[in-house]
């Protein structure tokens, strides 16, 4: 009897602590000893816009010198996926099987169908990066104007955040797609917004504080973002690839492959989407991890316990 009481007591207490304290998520849950960065593609001016499809193929752009959307397949072979598509800074596949793109140079957001035919969604905008929800809402950052804009499934554009993030840049979702996260290139926070039922953004919070350079303590240079199946957020910064747990606590900083070049884009791709890919100057690097990426063109799922 005494034993039973004690057990009930302990389990009651664990329940409380379990609710109060989210599980700690160190880098050791993600990185594999001996599996460092390796070059996945090279020869670019400024690789950017990394994204993946359901099979794990990698797609990206060369925003400065490139003329195409490039693809690296699961065998590691690179090809031009869409020719004559220069100046792209952000790419994401939608649940409709089309590839959405921020054409920064031409100040347009476009979509490519599976045959590579382009349709313009909006023009006279300053798009940097984007994310597309499973239900077809596209959110993109307008870094110079401090805006986040939305293009709804009917193609109508609206401003969903203005003046909150100093230089909104990278953009991702929680795995359940209920929270939108935007990195600040001109500050030190990753901001979290609630995706409201009508697709607007509510309740911004400076939820994640990025590590900043000692010489520039207020500016982390937050850039590209990704999410994994456990709800962890990844953001490229001046200090490296920073990882945050779903409650906004920094879990660690993954070293930049080439610290002499800017780290600007990140996604999970490759077999089982278990490889982290980053754009780092003229090269794309990858490394195998113990986790895998959340795919927003798939049905939203709750984050899995690690």
């Amino acid at each position: 009897m005494k034993h039973q009481c004690l057990l009930a007591f302990i389990s009651g207490f664990l329940l409380w602590v379990g609710n109060a304290n989210s599980q700690d998520m160190p880098l050791s849950q993600v990185l594999i000893e001996g599996e460092g960065w390796e070059v996945a593609a090279e020869g670019f001016d400024f690789a950017d816009g990394l994204c993946t499809d359901a099979d794990g193929n990698l797609y990206f752009s060369d925003v400065k010198g490139g003329t195409a959307v490039y693809k690296v397949d699961l065998e590691g072979t690179m090809s031009e996926f869409i020719s004559d598509a220069p100046g792209i800074s952000g790419l994401q596949w939608g649940s409709d099987g089309r590839l959405y793109a921020c054409v920064a140079r031409e100040q347009r957001v476009v979509v490519f169908d599976p045959e590579g035919a382009e349709t313009e969604l909006v023009n006279e905008v300053r798009p940097n990066d984007l994310v597309v929800t499973h239900d077809g809402n596209l959110y993109f950052t307008m870094t110079p104007t401090q805006e986040i804009r939305r293009i709804d499934p009917e193609g109508k554009m609206s401003i969903v955040s203005e003046g909150v993030v100093t230089k909104p840049n990278g953009i991702t979702l929680s795995r359940d797609q209920g929270t939108l996260a935007v990195s600040d290139h001109g500050g030190k926070f990753v901001w979290a917004f609630r995706v409201e039922e009508d697709g607007t953004l509510g309740h911004p919070g400076n939820y994640m504080e990025m590590r900043t350079p000692v010489a520039d303590p207020e500016i982390a240079r937050g850039d590209g973002m990704a999410t994994d199946v456990h709800g962890r957020y990844y953001v490229t910064t001046a200090e490296g690839l920073q990882m945050f747990d779903p409650t906004g606590r920094m879990g660690g900083v993954i070293a930049t492959p080439d610290p002499e070049s800017m780290l600007v884009s990140v996604c999970f791709a490759g077999p089982d989407h278990a490889y982290l890919y980053v754009a780092n100057g003229g090269k794309i690097y990858r490394r195998k991890t113990k986790t895998s990426g959340a795919l927003f063109f798939q049905k939203p799922k709750p984050a899995e316990a690690p």
Partner: protein, 293 residues
């Protein structure tokens, strides 16, 4: 004097036993006693503006001895739901019943506040948990939340003293560093801190407190710290070392503090077991026969 002695004795007891975490348990002060009047606990919810979009529950304990016109002392606890639970590690309402009745502590209103969440809008989505942001961040935001939102709301119904010496803020883990941060930012509002297994580690930069304490003009805060030798050692830091650093800094800077290091883990069990004596230590200058002094 008597209270002080039993306090010292119980600390000696707890520090000398090779206790496992499970061996710490609530004592008789946390059990309802015949003839001791029970205060009322009511549950409320709150939508915050200082933490925009968050909702949370909180509980208010009002002792039966409370009389309008006599402002009560104050105990605020983070992760409030755990502190009010009748079979929990703390059982704060019962402890307050017993200690107030015995004349060990003044008539005290307890406010037990849960951390906020930004609720999910669709089925299957998780709320955005705001606990770490609210508790681990080194800023005055949480203190302002209490002073500008919760206390004015409770103050509509009950009078609470403005004397910081009779206002206590308490918490466990991140709630512990949160208690310290609130007092550090607003010592005129919170003159006493109780931290159990406090996260003075680098969750969101809280590891800097020992350094700040040593190089800041001392603040009028009385601090009680509890930790256990088997507390966490993880990516954020080492809890026992962090709490030792806090105690050493408080000692160096001349604070009125008490540090109890037990053998427990990252749980509230040890803090709960000694909670009544901790409250007696906090209010050790208070005199039931001379409540004004």
């Amino acid at each position: 004097m008597k209270a002080q002695l039993s306090f010292l004795l119980s600390f000696a007891l707890f520090s000398s036993l090779p206790a496992k975490d499970e061996d710490y348990a609530p004592g008789t002060d946390a059990m309802p006693k015949e003839g001791v009047p029970r205060g009322a606990v009511t549950k409320h919810s709150w939508e915050s503006e200082i933490f925009p979009g968050t909702v949370r529950d909180y509980w208010v304990y009002v002792p039966s001895q409370y009389k309008e016109g006599n402002p009560a002392s104050l105990l605020i606890c983070q992760d409030g739901g755990g502190f009010v639970r009748e079979n929990g590690a703390f059982r704060a309402p019962t402890v307050l019943d017993n200690l107030i009745h015995a004349g060990d502590i003044p008539v005290t209103i307890g406010i037990f506040v849960n951390p906020g969440v930004v609720p999910a809008v669709k089925e299957g989505q998780q709320p955005r948990k705001n606990r770490s942001f609210e508790y681990d961040t080194l800023s005055d935001q949480y203190a302002r939340f209490l002073l500008e939102e919760i206390l004015p709301e409770v103050g509509k119904s009950y009078q609470i003293t403005n004397d910081p010496a009779n206002r206590v803020i308490c918490g466990n883990s991140s709630g512990g560093i949160c208690a310290f941060t609130a007092a550090w930012e607003r010592p005129a509002a919170f003159g006493n801190v109780i931290s159990h297994i406090g996260s003075f580690t680098n969750i969101r930069g809280g590891h800097v407190y020992p350094a700040l304490i040593r190089k800041s003009e001392p603040k009028p805060i009385r601090v009680f710290l509890q930790d256990g030798e088997n507390d966490l050692d993880n990516l954020h830091g080492n809890w026992p070392i962090a709490n030792e650093q806090m105690a050493a800094a408080l000692e160096y800077a001349g604070y009125d503090y008490q540090f109890v290091m037990g053998t427990g883990k990252h749980s509230g069990r040890h803090g709960g077991a000694i909670f009544p004596d901790t409250l007696r230590w906090i209010w050790r200058d208070w005199n039931a026969a001379d409540p004004e002094n």
